[in-house]
């Protein structure tokens, strides 16, 4: 680990991507993530083997990433909510073609043009595939500057391991917030495992094809089941979460990303008042840590889901716990950042209403 650097989130993602061996970026300007391509344009200019393209559209950008990925290069794009909607075409194709890529979504308020304030409005879109077709994308939700480093780098590893697009789901606050971070040693692209499926010219081998077209329904079904088995393996192996002060908790807050950061502050506050609250933070939103949340209900009978939207992840929490706990919801859509005080109030009300102390 190097020395600590004070950096804003978007720059951290860009630097971490470079250190992970990413050598292709194509993107299109949209707030609040412009600092990411701005940083990368300068960073990549210093590397002989890296390409930065400011594309003419989000569609072009994601399709350039698709082409880059076909050659085996670690490739990424980034955008914010409306731009991510446009990229869904390419993400669906890449899921079908089994091409790795990292897509950072620095979410803003919506629907439609919305605003440029931090929001978690795209949870459904990110965790349900997002585009057309029977597929999933791995979704990672960082909640701190340092985690932007680790999860960005992990995103590239997961994308390559499973040959699938990975979404890094942040929001305007994650993108703008400055925190001290440390970076690991860079990974040289030449040191990465060789990919045996890339398009690099059929020299002394049979020609290769990367496509998502399967006209024969039986072949399409076979491919769908192949993807399904891959997704099942990802669920089995890659689920990640953080438990915070849950050992003796009688109420658990479930929150991800920026909301989890705020919820941590709220939990600390109510703990000072003697209320036994803890935080369960999904780090992978897909695969969702459903078994781990279900296990929580052995000791916790009331769960408060807090999101910066009007209720999306709460559905996954309800599916996970079934009748084993009561799931409550507190949310602020539209780009509002709740204070820890507001969430502490919500926890306190819940504790007293249900006589949990």
């Amino acid at each position: 680990m190097g020395k600590k650097r004070l950096m804003r989130g978007s720059h951290v993602i860009a630097e971490a991507a470079t250190l992970a061996g990413c050598r292709f970026y194509a993107g299109y300007p949209i707030t609040p993530q412009n600092e990411l391509p701005e940083y990368l344009s300068g960073r990549f200019a210093k590397l002989e083997d890296a390409t930065f393209i400011q594309a003419e559209s989000e569609l072009a950008a994601i399709n350039m990433v698709m082409g880059a990925s076909m050659t085996g290069v670690r490739a990424m794009t980034s955008s914010s909510s409306p731009g991510i909607s446009l990229k869904q075409e390419g993400i669906s194709y890449m899921a079908g073609m089994e091409l790795p890529a990292v897509v950072a979504n620095i979410m803003r308020g919506g629907p439609g043009l919305g605003n440029i304030a931090p929001s978690q409005q795209d949870y459904f879109q990110a965790t349900r595939g997002g585009g057309h077709g029977d597929y999933r994308t791995i979704v990672l939700a960082p909640h701190s500057g340092q985690e932007l480093v680790t999860l960005t780098m992990k995103a590239f590893d997961l994308a390559d391991t499973y040959r699938t697009p990975v979404i890094l789901l942040g929001d305007g606050l994650m993108g703008q917030m400055m925190e001290p971070v440390t970076f690991p040693e860079p990974i040289e692209p030449s040191a990465l495992p060789k990919k045996e499926w890339t398009l690099d010219g059929a020299m002394e081998r049979d020609s290769r094809l990367i496509c998502s077209l399967r006209l024969d329904p039986f072949k399409m079904e076979q491919h769908n089941w192949k993807l399904a088995r891959k997704y099942a393996a990802i669920c089995e192996r890659e689920t990640e979460h953080e438990s915070y002060l849950l050992d003796d908790a009688v109420v658990a807050v479930v929150a991800f990303g920026t909301a989890a950061r705020i919820a941590k502050g709220a939990v600390n506050r109510v703990r000072k008042e003697g209320l036994k609250a803890g935080l369960f933070r999904p780090i992978t939103l897909w695969p969702f840590p459903e078994n781990e949340i279900r296990a929580l209900t052995r000791s916790v009978k009331h769960i408060l889901v807090f999101e910066m939207n009007f209720g999306q992840m709460v559905e996954d929490v309800r599916l996970s716990v079934g009748e084993k706990a009561t799931v409550h919801f507190h949310g602020r859509p539209g780009g509002i950042i709740s204070t820890p005080h507001e969430i502490a109030d919500a926890i306190t009300r819940l504790v007293y209403r249900h006589e949990l102390c």
Binding site: E56, S57, A60, M64, G67, M70, D200, A202
Partner: protein, 256 residues
């Protein structure tokens, strides 16, 4: 001693074309394969087929192929070429693909001077989906979505994408040809070879627009389809070198 004077190109697989009788794709595929053979680039060529009838080009061309979403071929090809400048990268696109849904990608790739070769097959309709109006459909031409013929007031004018691309600073060589006669087929092959060479010489963006028949959707015989191109389509889309700046500058010194 028997001397072989004609054979299947190495870059063309021994598969039976699925294309309709009289369709231009089969001829154009063969020309592409011959050019790849003659330039000796089979082992370093990557093709990007489009959505449409020719998406199955990978069943015939024996080179690495990466499929693109409808209209995005040059964007995908840009990603490939920028990561591997040593490869020869071509796209194969129809008129709906390149001149309607993919206009933005194509114009900007040409403007950036991407070192790509675009093979643009213009048959004036959406062949695979059943013959709907394309951007290149002629005024008055009947299609399944212009039952009384294309009307300018309602449907706009036929788009001349090649001319549009000629004004882009990064395009170096653009020629329009046809595959309606042996003479035109030979000219098409020459144009294709030049377009690939422009890329290999690192000069800039190259494109060959090929007027091609769709007898099935035009509801004409193969012979009458070729006649229609020569009598009617060429009036709208004349066969010519639309742009050739290969002798006047090289891409390498443009930025200087």
């Amino acid at each position: 001693m028997i001397k072989q004077v004609f054979k299947r190109p190495d870059a063309l697989k021994d598969n039976i074309f699925h294309y309709c009788p009289g369709c231009g794709h089969s001829v154009i595929h063969r020309l592409v394969a011959e050019v790849i053979d003659e330039l000796g680039i089979r082992g370093k060529t990557v093709g990007v087929p489009p959505a449409g009838c020719a998406v199955l080009a990978y069943n015939y061309l024996d080179v690495d192929m990466g499929e693109a979403p409808h209209g995005r071929a040059v964007a995908v090809a840009t990603g490939i070429k920028r990561c591997r400048p040593d490869l020869v990268v071509f796209t194969y696109q129809g008129d709906g693909d390149i001149a309607a849904i993919g206009t933005a990608e194509t114009v900007h790739a040409a403007n950036r001077g991407e070192r790509l070769t675009v093979i643009f097959v213009n048959n004036g309709c959406y062949g695979m989906t059943g013959g709907q109006m394309a951007p290149t459909t002629l005024l008055g031409q009947t299609t399944t979505t212009t039952p009384g013929g294309r009307i300018q007031l309602r449907d706009g004018f036929p788009v001349d994408l090649s001319q549009m691309l000629a004004v882009a600073g990064g395009s170096v060589y653009i020629e329009r040809t046809a595959v309606t006669s042996p003479k035109n087929i030979i000219k098409t092959k020459k144009a294709l070879k030049k377009a690939f060479k422009v890329q290999m010489d690192d000069l800039g963006f190259s494109l060959v627009e090929i007027l091609s028949a769709c007898p099935t959707n035009w509801k004409l015989s193969s012979v009458d389809s070729c006649k229609r191109i020569e009598d009617e389509v060429i009036k709208q889309y004349p066969l010519m070198v639309i742009k050739d700046t290969t002798g006047t500058h090289s891409g390498a010194d443009e930025g200087a």
